[in-house]
Each structure stands twice: as C-alpha cells, then as structure tokens.
Subunit: 204 residues, 2 copies
C-alpha cells in the first residue's frame, strides 16, 4: 500500500520526534487527520512560532524568548550561586525540586572529545566570564553521573578554583525510597564510600 | 519554574498527539528546539500541507489527495470485492498482509448508538449505493472483534443480503504463533466452536 505524497511527508516528519518510529508516526498522522485537525493546525503554528521566538538566554543558555530567561531576569534569585547542568530539562528538574533558588548555567551537552564536543561547544568561555566578572560564591556541579559528566564537572571545578570560588558536586547515592536490593552495585559502592557521620543528636 | 509563553503553547500543542503526556511533550519540545530545528520546521510544514491537501476518497472514504484514493484509482484491483474496515490504519494492515487485491470501504468508526454514531456517520448510504450500482460479488466484513464491531458487521451483512451479495466475515481464532496458554479464554472458546474439518489429504 502506498501512502499519498503529503501523508508520506507527514509520516517522515513525525519521525523526527524522539521515540517515534514508523508505527507511532502512522498512528499519530491518522489520528490527527481523522480526529483532531484543529489540534494538528495548532501544532503546526506552535512549532513555527516556537522556532521563530524561542532562543537561548545570553546569560545562562537556557531557552528564552527575550535576551534573558525567566530565572536570570528574576532579581529575587540568589545571584551568588550557579548550578551547572547539561540540558534545559535538567534546569526544570532542579528548579521543580524546590531546593534551589540560585541561577543556572546550561552546558547543552558534556565534554566528549571523541564527538568533537570541547569547552567551546559547551559555552565554557561564557561561564568563565561569569565566574570572573560576577560575585559568585559557589558553583554547584549538577552534571550527570556518567564518565563524561564527571569529567565535565572536574573541568569546571578547576576553573572555579582558579577564581577562588567554592565548587560543590551534588550528592550521589541511593535514591529516596530506593530499596538496596534493586540499586545497581556501582551506586551502592559509591553510597558506601561517601557515607556520612550520623549527627549525635539523632541518637537521642 | 515557568515556561516561556511559546514554549507553553508548544507543550500544549504536542499533547494533542496520541500517547503524549506532559513529560513526553517536554522531551519532544526540548529535543526539537535543541537538536533538530530543521526537523521541527519540516514537521510544521508537513502538518499544514497534509491538512490542506489530504481529504477522503469519495468512493471508499480512505485518505486521498485526489477525488479517488490510490486503491480505487487502480484499475488492476478486483472491483467485485469490497473489504469493510473501521479505520484507514486497517486498510494499511489488510493491504500489507498481501492476501487481498480487492477494494475497500472505510467506515471511520463503528456503530455505537450511545455515542451518537449511527449508519449515517459511517457513510452507510454511500456504501449502499455502491452495493446497488456496482457489480459486487462479495463483501468482506473486517470490522473489529468487539461488540460494536460485530453489530456493525451484522448490519452491513443485512444490507448486502438485500442486494443478493455474499457477505463474509474474516476468521477469528488463535493468532499464528500464539501459544494456547496465553490466548484469552473468549478467543479460545470461539476458536473451538469455529473449528474446521482437517482435509483428509493432510493425513496422508
């Protein structure tokens, strides 16, 4: 069975979405054409308008529609702290945790020399200028717990140190609610070696 | 964390896709803006162009860009057989099975009086005209094996009978490769009651 040209084009275009293969693309295309033409029209408009208007914050590289993102434009945020993350989704995750009221810097990736991703691609020069010119007291390294993430964190910690700024790494260990039985061995080994003294008042 | 207005609009629009919730929508939006802006632009164009150009075949209600779909326009197809299906996706499924070279009729749903879906919504008047005016020898009922699907099949079989046309129903039973242990009991009970005589030459 051959699809008509526009349908073929739509099926191919839907497959640019992450996690969408040929079967899902067909399901989506048929659903939109059959049941939700208004929704499809709105999606086309929303895509075009997001592409035209959404860029990156010139201060932290987060998605933004103005020069500054909502976090960098927010004067109530603690300007002395920078949390370094790999992706815009990480900013959302950290911010939604509610435990952080400082600013961010989004690397849009992590150091990976083999893929041609060096400090320049991660906007490290922009970060260095911020470390030099702003009054930063702490850099929180929240890159992923992978080899590249750790290397990226170590590299940025070095930069912070040069400016005399304290660099901290988010804690890694057993997740809350995680049963030891189901935690992978490298996490468990790390949780053991990074064990902390139980405060004595907890024993009372 | 607040998303910027266009990003919010894009997240809402992506959720019109079937199977896409808030988390997937965020993943898709960030992926498109971050890594595949060209793909997103093509998707916007493809959606608009499909909405503008893809309609329904005036003969069988399948998706089509001309008055007739590719199947109805194909003179080499057996015009004496109509396979009745519920959705365009079913046409693709039947056609890809390779076992059928006739024509189709797409109901775009199934009889469901409680949801206000009667014969008119399913284009039964169009189907009746085809049964009356064309030289049809067989109507194959390939609606789904649900209560509504069966009711729809029975209704159309009645129409075919009135015109003296043979109506057949696709076989239901244990799927190929299906192990009896994992087949649900209603399918198994149906497969038992619809058992067929083993041809004697198979015993040789």
């Amino acid at each position: 069975m051959h699809f008509t040209p526009r349908l073929q084009q739509l099926l191919a275009a839907l497959r640019c979405l992450p996690g969408v293969g040929p079967k899902s693309a067909q399901r989506m295309a048929f659903y939109l054409l059959d049941r939700d033409r208004d929704g499809a029209g709105e999606l086309a408009v929303a895509l075009r308008s997001a592409l035209d208007e959404v860029g990156h914050c010139e201060h932290c590289r987060m998605f933004a529609e103005q020069a500054l993102c909502t976090v960098c434009a927010d004067k109530k945020r603690d300007a002395g702290m920078i949390c370094i993350v790999e992706t815009p989704a990480d900013v959302i995750a950290v911010d939604d945790s509610g435990g952080y009221r400082g600013r961010y810097f989004v690397l849009m990736g992590r150091l990976s020399p083999l893929d041609g991703i060096g400090p320049l691609e991660l906007g490290i020069n922009l970060l260095e200028r911020r470390l030099r010119e702003e009054t930063i007291t702490e850099v929180i390294l929240a890159t992923s717990a992978t080899v590249e993430g750790e290397a990226t964190a170590a590299y940025i910690a070095g930069l912070a140190e040069k400016q005399g700024i304290r660099a901290t790494r988010i804690a890694h260990g057993v997740p809350m609610g995680g049963e030891l039985e189901y935690v992978d061995s490298s996490t468990l080994s790390l949780a053991l070696s990074a064990r902390t003294q139980v405060p004595t008042d907890a024993v009372d």
